[in-house]
């Protein structure tokens, strides 16, 4: 299993600013995943963060808007840049396990409100 500490749990930010979200895992993992959950919606994958290489972004998400760092096997950050009210969402980090077909583990989420 894996325990993920995600922070901040919530924040209210002014438009045009940026917010950096951190996730710390209690074990080494190869890949970390960042999701966005817009109000009342399901989770949409933003990107996959691999240690030692650039993150892989899903369609509709770009590095300039959502830069990701992955400095080691237990830590990652997601920055949401140049905030607009449309960025108001819950952002979640997740890890799988190295074994085939096992559950994923999630941080507690960061609820971002842009005003």
């Amino acid at each position: 299993s894996a325990v993920i500490s995600q922070k901040p749990s919530r924040d209210i930010c002014q438009r045009g600013t940026s917010l950096t979200i951190q996730c710390q895992v209690d074990s080494q993992v190869t890949m970390m995943f960042w999701y966005r959950q817009q109000p009342g919606q399901s989770l949409t994958l933003i990107a996959t963060a691999n240690q030692g290489s650039e993150a892989t972004y899903e369609s509709g998400f770009v590095i300039d808007k959502f830069p990701i760092s992955r400095p080691n096997l237990t830590f990652s950050t997601l920055t949401v840049s140049n905030l607009s009210p449309e960025d108001s969402s819950i952002y979640l980090c997740s890890v799988g396990t190295a074994s085939s077909g096992t559950e994923a583990f999630f941080g507690q989420g960061t609820r971002l409100t842009v005003v």
């Binding site: 959950q37 399901s42 994958l45 369609s59 799988g96 396990t97 085939s100 559950e103 989420g109 609820r111």
Partner: protein, 112 residues
């Protein structure tokens, strides 16, 4: 991208009743998982069913999987007010270290 469709989108039942939620997906899977989310917080894993399994139980939860119809159902028996949450199915298409693809979710309200 999302490929799961869940129905109903919202379900309201009385405490003690059973709640059934359905999930459909589009492409072949390695396994299908169900998650619960309270009040927009982190997701909690409930149960995983592999593509070669048809039914699985865990406490008051029963999950079925029909790969020919590309569908799954989650049954919560004898529901409690504390079961009020959003429930998501998620499909895993490869083995390990790959992101899950989530369905749209069912918002369950259990009225005491």
């Amino acid at each position: 991208s999302q490929q799961g469709e869940e129905d109903p989108q919202a379900l309201s039942i009385q405490e003690g009743e059973n709640a059934t939620m359905n999930c459909s997906y589009k492409t072949s899977i390695n396994n299908l998982q169900w998650y619960r989310q309270n009040s927009g917080r982190g997701l909690v894993h409930l149960i995983l069913i592999r593509s070669n399994e048809r039914e699985k139980h865990s406490g008051r939860l029963r999950v079925t999987l029909d790969t020919s119809k590309k569908s799954s159902s989650l049954l919560i028996t004898a529901s409690r007010a504390a079961d009020t949450a959003s429930y998501f199915c998620a499909t895993d298409h490869f083995s390990g270290n790959t992101p899950l693809v989530f369905g749209k979710g069912t918002r369950l309200s259990v009225i005491a």
